[in-house]
């Protein structure tokens, strides 16, 4: 039996009167990559944002059900700041802050009270190495992060997320704004990262889900249609709709 990092039970989410997620039940395995796929507007991005409560920022969102992280309900038992330290996020568009590379990576640890220069130096180097951008960044630590290319910026954002030592890494279409080469590098990176982190990734690209994920969940119109081993979902799905989507009949 594998370890479940996150367990979602009967999750419903409403934007005002519109129900965006309907009765979702998902178990997310520790140190595996779980891909969320489905056509636009299916609720996959909404769902991933419930896992670190980024939906709290949106006006008029109502949530019921349970999201358990290591057995604790993140909407009841866990302080949101501590939650986001444990569950980091990488966004669709690379969003480094307009400050130096070093300050970007050190931002998270500093927010959580790390002040000592030597410790910060160590964290910054370690995070940049883990995100496979140390070689490009080491001579430009004091330079503004916005001078990096899109792909470098996204890896920098991954480094920034890793710097607070999260347990789970959420990635919301992290390569949708990148070219194929930059995408390839991020995909390689996720392979390395899953040794230490539990990864949940939303992706528009089924090839990407097939390449990198261990588990795949297919969403459609707010419902979770099917979830299982990626190999099985792609070769022999249980549900007709999953098959239709994967073979490209819609979406």
């Amino acid at each position: 039996m594998n370890n479940m990092k996150i367990t979602v039970k009967d999750l419903n989410l409403y934007y005002g009167d519109f129900q965006a997620l309907k009765n979702i039940n998902i178990d997310i395995e520790e140190r595996k990559i779980t891909a969320l796929i489905g056509p636009s507007g299916c609720g996959k991005s909404t769902f991933i944002k419930t896992l670190n409560r980024m939906n709290d920022l949106i006006e008029g969102v109502k949530i019921d059900g349970n999201v358990m992280l290591d057995g604790e309900d993140i909407y009841k038992d866990v302080d949101v700041i501590k939650l986001r330290k444990r569950v980091g996020m990488v966004f669709q568009k690379p969003n480094p802050f307009p400050m130096s590379v070093y300050d970007n990576v050190a931002y998270g640890p500093r927010s959580h009270g790390v002040k000592k220069k030597s410790i910060l130096d160590e964290i910054v180097e370690k995070s940049l190495r883990s995100a496979a951008i140390w070689d490009e960044a080491k001579d430009r630590l004091k330079k503004n992060a916005l001078g990096f290319s899109g792909g470098q910026q996204q890896r920098l954002c991954i480094a920034r997320a890793l710097a607070v030592e999260p347990e789970v890494l959420l990635m919301d279409e992290p390569t949708s704004a990148l070219d194929p080469i930059a995408t390839g590098r991020i995909e390689e990176l996720t392979e390395d990262l899953k040794k230490e982190y539990t990864i949940v990734i939303v992706t528009h690209s089924m090839q990407q889900a097939g390449r990198i994920s261990d588990k795949t969940a297919f969403f459609l119109l707010g419902d979770l249609i099917e979830m299982g081993d990626t190999k099985k979902i792609f070769s022999n799905p249980d549900d007709k709709r999953t098959e239709d989507y994967i073979t490209g009949r819609f979406g």
Partner: protein, 276 residues
């Protein structure tokens, strides 16, 4: 095809003409004022003054002007910035925000003499601050507050939401997000707010002479009255005391504005460079 070309050319001509008129009037006024005034600007004119002598130099008025600018900015900027932060980052869109917006917009449209009368009754008389730098600065603070709030609001709104998400997503608190990410990005816009305010303060006469008075002395404390350059100019011209001196004062005023704008621009571009 030919018709299109004709109307294109006409449009172009109109645009160029408009630019020439705008720029031309401005340059013409500047040249006119400075050419009439520069001959009367001397070292003595800038530095000398005799107590109670309107014919002398304008040194105390320069100091009064800078004094009032400084205190007003000191009062109005923090209040304005904090209100803008509340409106953009904290307030839930709804009735209260609409009321505050409506109030600030109305405030911006009120003629300055009304602020002057209010200041005269409230600060000068009721609170007993007399005609002083303090009364003047408080009155002007209320007057420039809408500008500061609106301009800061716009610059805060222009900060991309992905910065907020990025910071909050790392587990940073809202306050830290505002202090470390949002405010630095909005700083050039906030600086614009300050520059605009300084412009309004320098140009103001009605609200100033009703609250800071027209004393011809150097203000030694915040409770002393004094006259700003604009007020002085108004008196020189209105009372027909000396048109030469009025132009000379105007020249100095223009130079002060140019210098302040220059410094602010330099500051803004330096901040920009640091940020991008």
């Amino acid at each position: 095809m030919k018709k299109r070309n004709l109307s294109d050319n006409f449009m172009k001509l109109f645009i160029i003409l408009s630019s020439i008129i705008t720029l031309g009037t401005m340059i013409w006024i500047l040249i006119y004022v400075i050419s009439n005034g520069i001959a009367h600007v001397s070292w003595e004119f800038l530095t000398e003054f005799q107590e109670g002598q309107i014919e002398g130099g304008i040194f105390p008025y320069i100091i009064s002007t800078l004094y009032i600018i400084f205190i007003t900015i000191l009062i109005a900027t923090p209040i304005g910035i904090f209100s803008a932060i509340y409106l953009v980052e904290y307030a839930k869109p709804g009735k209260i925000v609409r009321i505050i917006r409506f109030a600030t917009e109305s405030l911006a449209g009120i003629p300055s003499i009304v602020f002057g009368l209010f200041g005269l009754i409230f600060f000068v008389t009721m609170l007993g601050f007399r005609w002083s730098m303090l009364s003047g600065a408080l009155t002007l603070s209320i007057m420039v507050l809408p500008t500061v709030v609106r301009t800061t609001e716009e610059s805060l709104k222009a900060v991309p939401n992905i910065y907020r998400e990025g910071s909050l997503g790392l587990g940073a608190s809202k306050l830290r997000t505002i202090r470390k990410v949002i405010l630095p990005s909005a700083l050039p816009g906030i600086l614009t707010a300050v520059i605009l305010s300084i412009g309004r303060i320098i140009g103001e006469t009605a609200a100033v002479f009703l609250t800071a008075g027209t004393a011809k002395a150097l203000p030694k404390s915040i409770m002393d009255g004094g006259r700003t350059l604009s007020v002085h100019m108004y008196y020189l011209a209105k009372e027909g005391i000396s048109m030469d001196k009025a132009y000379a004062t105007a020249t100095v005023l223009i130079l002060v504005v140019i210098v302040i704008n220059f410094i602010a621009n330099k500051l803004a571009s330096r901040l920009n460079k640091k940020n991008s």
